[in-house]
Every structure is written in C-alpha cells, then in structure tokens.
Symmetry: C2
Subunit: 524 residues, 2 copies
C-alpha cells in the first residue's frame, strides 16, 4: 500500500526554503466576523504571486504577537498590500486597522509524522506527543489533521505510557494551580445526566470537612446547564488563577469555570475536535480528565461514571474497565482515585436549567431538597472524605450527611459564593424566577416508566436554558410514580412567551416523560 | 471503550425535530471572498436565537438552488435579516444582493454511521458507500468527517467488493461519456515524474492506430505541469462533454482537462481531502483511477507505475501488488488492464514546464526528440495496441514506432489540436519562449548521479510554471553523463526577471542535479 506521505510542499529546511524568502507585509483591515477558527483574507493576485492559496496556513506576525491562520482570497474586497483579519485573528494579534502584519509561509508541521506513526499502529514517545500538543496549541494543525489523529487513536488505542505522556503533555500546555496546601481533593462526572448538580453540594461538604477542593467546572455544551452555568446564578465563575488560589486558601473550596483559566489548555482544543466527530477514544478521555485534575494539584479524586439507558458508558462491564484504567493511570500520576458507578438513566433532582438546578442545590444544603440529589452528593462526598483519610471506610457518608444537617455545608457554600462576588448569605430569594410557565399533564393513567435525559435537556434549551438563567424544566414526578390522567408531569419555565411557545412546539411528537400503559393500543 | 456516538444534536426525525421548525429567511449580501469551502456569515444574535452557532452547517435555499454551508457569525457586519454569502455559496445558489435565502437546520448526515462502521473495522455495503458519496457531493460532510473516513480506510483497508462499490459509486456521482464506438482505450500514470509527457505522444499514436482514446488529464498540483497544462500551450482543454464526444468521434482522440468535465465528480472532492493529509489508501487510489476510466467507457487500460527514489510507489514488490489489484478489480468492472512498472527515479524528457514539455512532445512526434520520452511513449502505446488486439503480442512497440516515423502520429496530433481550437498544423513555432534565461554550470568534474524530480519541479515552479506557460527548466544532461567543471547542467526559463531571480535564490542549498565526486571532502 502506498505509504502516507509528507504533506504539502515537502520538507523544507527553515534556512534554505524557497518560500521562507517569500514573506511580505500587509496593512490590517479588521472584519467583525467570528469563524470558529483563524481566518484571514488576502488579495487573490498578490497571494498567488507569493505562492499562497485558499485553505493554506500562514504565520502572521504583528508588533505584539504571532499566530497561524488559514487563507481565504478575494479580488475585490482586499486590495494589494492589505490583509483582512477576522475577529479571532485580530484579537490574537492585538491588531487594529492599519497595523502592519508580516505574512510568512509556514513549514509543514512536525506533528504530521507522528500522526502518521500512530496511524500505522506504532507507539508515540513522550516528546512526540509533546510536539503534537505544542503544534495544536500554536494552531498549526488543521481540523483534518486533528481528526485523523483522533481517529487513529480511536482505532489503534493508546498504551498506558502514552496516556500518562499525553496527560503530562496536556498539563504542560497550561497553567497549574500551586495551592501550597494539602490534601487537595477533586471530583469528576463523565456526564450526560440532566440536573445532576452534585458538585455544588459536594464542594461545600468537602471544604467544611477541612479538605481543599479547588473545583473547576464546565459550561453546558449540549445540556441545559453545566455546573459553571448554575453556579453563575449566584456568583462570578470567571476567575483568574490567583483569585481562585486565594479563595481556596481562605475557604478551602471554590466552584469556578475552567474555561476562564488556562489550565490544561490543549484539552479545550482537543475537546473541540472530538465533539464534531463525537469520538471519545478512551485514552484521550482519560488524559483529558486527569490533566484537569493534575493541573489543580489534586491528590484524591472521585470519578462518577453514570451508566444505563442513554448514558455515555453503556454498562457495568465497560464502566469497570474504565474505572480500572482511571485508578491505574492515576497511580502513575500520584493521584489516589476512586470510581463510583451510578445510575445515569434518569435526571437527578427536580430542576433542569441553571436557576432551577441552583434552587435544588440550596434546598439540599438546607436539608429540604430532592432526596436523590442529597443522597448522591453525600455518597460522592463521603467516598472522597474516606479516600482523603478524614473518615474511616464506611463512615464517610455519615460524616457528609452530618455536615449538611448541621448547616455547616450551607454556611460554607454561602462563604464561597460571597468570596466569588455573590450576595452575603445567598439564599433562594437570590435566584431569578421565570416570567412564563406552562404545565404538562398526563394524558392518561399509568406509571412513570422513563424520563429521558436528552429530551429533557432539549426542551429546556428550547425554552432558553442555559443562556436565560431562569429558563428550564421543573420535574413534578419520578420514575415509578403512579399518575392519573390530568396529573401534572412537569412545568416549563421561560423568560419569553415566544421561547416558551417554541419549547411547547418542540414537545410535539416527543415524550420526555414516558408512561407505561396497560393498554398499548386498541384495534377496532 | 466509549463507542463513537451520534454527532451533534442527536438523531432528529425530519417531522418532529425541534429545529426543523426553526427555519428563517434572510436577504443575501454577496461578499467576494473565496474560502475554499462554502461559508456564510449570520448575525450573531439572530443565529443564536435560531440555535445556530459558528462552524455548524445549515441548508440554504434560493429560488434557483439548494446547498449546504458553514456558519460564521458577526454582530457588526451583518444585520438581522441579512446573510453574507461568500463567493462559492453565492455562485452555487445563483444568488445576488437582496435575494431571499431560506436558512434551515440540517439533519445529521447519515454517513456518520457508516464512517463509524468503517472505523470499527466492518465492511461497508454498496448502498452505504453510495450514501457517503452522495453526502460528500452535497457538501454535507465536514473536513474532519472526511479526514476521519479516509484515515479509517487507510488503517482498516478495503475489501475488493468495497473498492468495486466505491468505483461504481464515484462513477455514479458524475457524467459519463457515451461514445457509441469501441474499443475505447485509456492510460493512466501514478505520477510524480517530472517532464513525463507520454500521454501527449501516446494519444495520437493510439488514435492513428484506429483505436478510440477520449483522454482526460489533470492540471498540476505540486508539479511544474500537468498534461492538461501542457496541452493548453497549443489548444483549448476546457471542453464540454458533448464537444469532447464529437472530437473523439471525428479524430479518435482528444486530450482535455478532466476538471472541466463532470466525470466521477466525487473523486475530485476525495482528492481535495486526501491531499492535505497526503493519505492515499490503496482502495481509494484504485477506485479513484478506475472511476475516471470507467466514466469515459474505457475497455482497455494501460497503467504506468513509476518506482524508484522519490517515487510514490517504493519498490517492485509494492508495484506488483498494486498491479494485481488493478487487474483483478478491472476485470470486475469489465476493463482489460495491463500495468507497466517503469523507472520513475529521474525526469523523462528534457523540458520541465508546460511550453518546454510541449516542445519535447512535438520533437518526439517529429522523430527528433528526447529518446527516453520517445521510447517510453512507444512502450506504453505498444502495450495498449496489443491489449486492444490491434497488434500481436510483442509487435505493439514496432507498430507504435512506425506510426511516429511515418508522420501519422504527428498529423493526428495536429488534427486533435486543431479540433480543440488550436492552430492548423501546430508546430514548434506556436510554442511560447521565455524572455529570461539562466544557465547552471557544473562546479566541478564528476558524473551525473541523480536528478531529483521534486527539486526540479520546485525550481520550475519558482520560475513561474505552470501558470507562466514558458517558464521552467531545460535539462542539458542525463544521469550517467560525465561532466567537467563549467559544463552546463540545466537552463532556467522565466517570463519575469523577478521570478527568475527568485528561482535562482531557491537553488541555494539545493542540488537538483547531483554529481558523484571522486573526492568527497578535503581536510586540511
């Protein structure tokens, strides 16, 4: 079979390259267009004279910075000596209209050789992985090259050495939190369960237990709310790393948006590539999660793997394998890891959407809230307390429960909220309420058979979540409940009549809350 | 391992999808920007309200046509109710400023399931391959998805059934030539050899032998000239399929640019994806070549596989394997195929660049030209004549040679050139000559050890080839020649002093013509 060959123009030594010589300077013209990538537009004739073509990548240099961008061309919009910069490029270069921008041919990325090596089934050395991650960070790799890399990893797998190497490499691409205190705890959930806001209950419990938990969370991608979106209802979540450190040193915990920090930066870029293909090769999944934990200096980590209908991980067997990998690779990275496999087939808590979930969290911390969210949070917190040596095996749950019932966890939560710029003594009154509501009722008698995470999220998003904080869904039933025709199943909340309307239309043909009926159909 | 999952928003049935409902109409604003893909810019707020984000794909509909495009967003440049169309989109939609454009959410491409299937090592059925090719043609697949597909094929390989299926599928995406005459001959070279213009000699020989040869050729991608670029020195190569048919019916042959026709269209798109990654999985290579042959209705095909230093195919063993695949798959597609493995380590002929290569072709047809080009062309033509049954085994070369020496091939070439809109009795005087020349001389005594295809091409391109027809290189020596210090090695031709200068600078540190020296270094 013909071997995968060198890409593009062949290997050019930096010094004697033909094209290196071909660098030229243009005046910037900034266009307010966000393209999801770095795009510039060159004058077509001038570009061709310089052997630059549509879709090629070039290095750009302003007085302030350097970056890599992809070329579009135009003969009308861009004159000779001009370069149009789309938003991402202008911002990265710190460039304004009229600034001089140097345009240089780019050497073929060194990573291509290593992507090919992986493709051919060989094992990558640490320094080879480092090169791929570095060039990823420098935007030198195209979407196609990265897709090829991820696909190769998906098919060929990764050795434990490679996963450890990738984790360390990803950590190395970003900042790290130097807390100067120990032990540092952390927690991660593989995701996909609606309403599952355990982090916001667990963090104050752990902090109240005297352990450190510098928690970074994500915003929603396809769900109705991420932990960062929910915390944002009460507090600021976009913190600098120094602010984060100082808050954790004071209160033992925080709940901030990971995206605002620059921890394990390469991971954010890897996620961007994995998402469109929906590929999540095990090695990359492990490295991605562990790099985030490593970059905040975690010693003790609890991983929540939800399984069941619609969950990311299909069954107990797959969950067990993944759990063993986590533990074994964690060991090599000096992290003690425990994995809890949980039921992820139904939403946890009653609210779906930032404000409604935040309300659940405050209720749980006030020992009033949804029992499933209370129980799951205490299970996870208890395991983490045991793992850290703060409680004996088997007594962690009780310790966690006591920290809630005594009000210490709520006080700790309010302390953290205040340190993150929120109200003093934050409570339910600080949570916004939606202006428009619509209740969905059971159309017949039956028993609740299934509540679908994905559909619930979709309807909540249609109503405006997570951007409209108060928008979402409030579940009024649980799996197993007996309901009669006309009983309320759930409420839809929205800030605008139009969005509520849209969400109601979205329900047509769907059944986010499924009833099991006695008579399945009648034939006459 | 977590399975590769459904991408994007999950599977939406066309009828009950939330997003289907969210279609809206905007006024077109055409921007003269060529992006190498289909790009539109939406107003950021309006896009988000419609659940559309940067990098997502949408279906666009004008009064005339429908296409798929990728979203960029802007808050300043694009107002509510407006959509900016980049050149490719405007042209595909036949849209002008102010036209109404309907914007619709796109369902997840069905191909993703089949790309995943290939990734998981399973075999694709014909209808699954058809779906991928159809969606490829409709621009429904992203670069990342296609890269993932090609990578999966590279790693997993393709069965003979799959290759046959892919070939037929690719043929089905384009037009086919219905010549109504037989036998139809064709020829293909795997490529990578500079100056190798055998096609332009072979076509008139075959046509003069009374066989049909509706030859489509490519333009250069990274070389100094493709056959289409070289033929264009004397004739028009951008023909419609009807013109092509009528010319071949009259003269038995033609040499046209394949890109202007719409034969095997999916192949052009596949090539666009294979190139940046430089992946050429055997199955795709075979299907790609055979689809082009099938789409002109070829019965007898000669394949030229150059091997040796710097060639695409490394050695005789690999060439043999590929040859057997060609023959065996050709049989299933009703094509008689013969493969010639040739020496591809050095350029063929003296000229490199469109005009200089064209000159070689006319010289060979006048029985004066470079003996290597003459010999190779007659070898290939002879084999094709034998394969078609027009000459007995072993006598094809002599038949081909006689058609040249008798002047019949030249007359046929001139007939074809004239039918393709060129001069009557086209000859050397019709070929443009460069205004600037520069000769490179041997710096010491020695013997020519190697002439490097890639470097030769690079220098010729630096001098302006293939866009400047007269630009390029003229080789004044061959491998094995003994040279003395000061002997001329090659001439560089260019239409502009600046480009010539640039090409001379490009030579620094390179040695496209390598001498083997007696004294390798002297130490003092």
């Amino acid at each position: 079979m013909p071997k995968a060959e060198v890409a593009g123009e062949g290997k050019l030594a930096p010094k004697d390259s033909v094209w290196k010589y071909k660098q030229y300077v243009c005046k910037a013209k900034c266009f307010d267009i966000t393209a999801g990538g770095k795009i510039i537009v060159l004058n077509e004739t001038e570009a061709h004279e310089n052997d630059l073509y549509t879709s090629h990548r070039v290095i750009l240099r302003s007085q302030k910075a350097q970056t890599v961008a992809i070329i579009d061309v135009s003969s009308d919009l861009v004159g000779r000596g001009e370069v149009v910069l789309f938003s991402e490029v202008a911002s990265e270069l710190g460039a304004m209209d009229g600034n001089e921008i140097e345009i240089m041919h780019m050497q073929r990325p060194a990573s291509i050789e290593f992507i090919k090596k992986k493709m051919d089934g060989r094992t990558l050395a640490k320094r080879e992985i480092d090169t791929v991650m570095r060039e990823l960070m420098e935007n030198r790799l195209s979407e196609a090259e990265l897709a090829s890399f991820i696909t190769s990893i998906y098919i060929r797998g990764m050795s434990e050495d490679e996963i450890v190497g990738l984790t360390e490499s990803v950590v190395g691409t970003g900042q790290t939190l130097q807390l100067g205190r120990r032990p540092v705890c952390d927690k991660h959930c593989i995701g996909g369960v609606a309403g599952n806001r355990t982090t916001m209950v667990l963090v104050p419990i752990i902090a109240a237990a005297g352990l450190y938990i510098p928690k970074t969370s994500s915003r929603s991608i396809t769900s109705a709310a991420g932990t960062a979106d929910t915390m944002e209802v009460l507090a600021n979540v976009s913190l600098e790393i120094d602010e984060m450190r100082s808050i954790v040193q004071k209160s033992h915990g925080c709940i901030v948006w990971g995206g605002a920090l620059k921890l394990a930066s390469a991971d954010d870029k890897l996620i961007k590539i994995r998402n469109p293909l929906s590929l999540d090769p095990k090695g990359v999944l492990l490295a991605s999660i562990l790099a985030k934990k490593k970059s905040v200096g975690a010693d003790n980590v609890i991983i929540d793997i939800p399984i069941g209908r619609g969950a990311k991980i299909a069954d107990q067997k797959e969950a067990n394998e993944l759990a063993h990998d986590f533990i074994s690779i964690g060991k090599r990275l000096d992290m003690k890891i425990e994995v809890l496999v949980t039921d992820g087939s139904e939403p946890v808590g009653r609210g779906i959407g930032p404000a409604l979930e935040c309300r659940d969290v405050l209720s749980v911390l006030s020992f009033e809230g949804p029992p499933d969210l209370f129980d799951k949070s205490c299970q996870l917190a208890g395991a983490l307390i045991e793992l850290s040596g703060k409680a004996k095996k088997g007594s962690g749950y009780a310790v966690a429960q006591r920290l809630v019932t005594s009000g210490k966890a709520l006080a700790k939560f309010q302390e953290i909220v205040e340190l993150q710029g929120g109200q003093k003594n934050a409570n339910v009154d600080d949570i916004p309420v939606a202006s428009y509501k619509h209740t969905v009722y059971a159309k017949e008698n039956g028993r609740i058979f299934h509540i679908d995470n994905k559909m619930i999220s979709k309807v909540a998003r249609a109503a405006g979540a997570p951007n409209d904080k108060a928008a979402g869904l409030l579940l009024l039933c649980e799996r197993g409940d007996k309901v009669n025709k006309g009983d309320p199943l759930f409420e839809m909340h929205s800030d605008s009549e139009a969005k509520l309307d849209f969400a109601i239309k979205a329900l047509e043909g769907w059944e986010p809350v499924e009833l099991r009926r006695v008579v399945l159909s009648s034939i006459d």
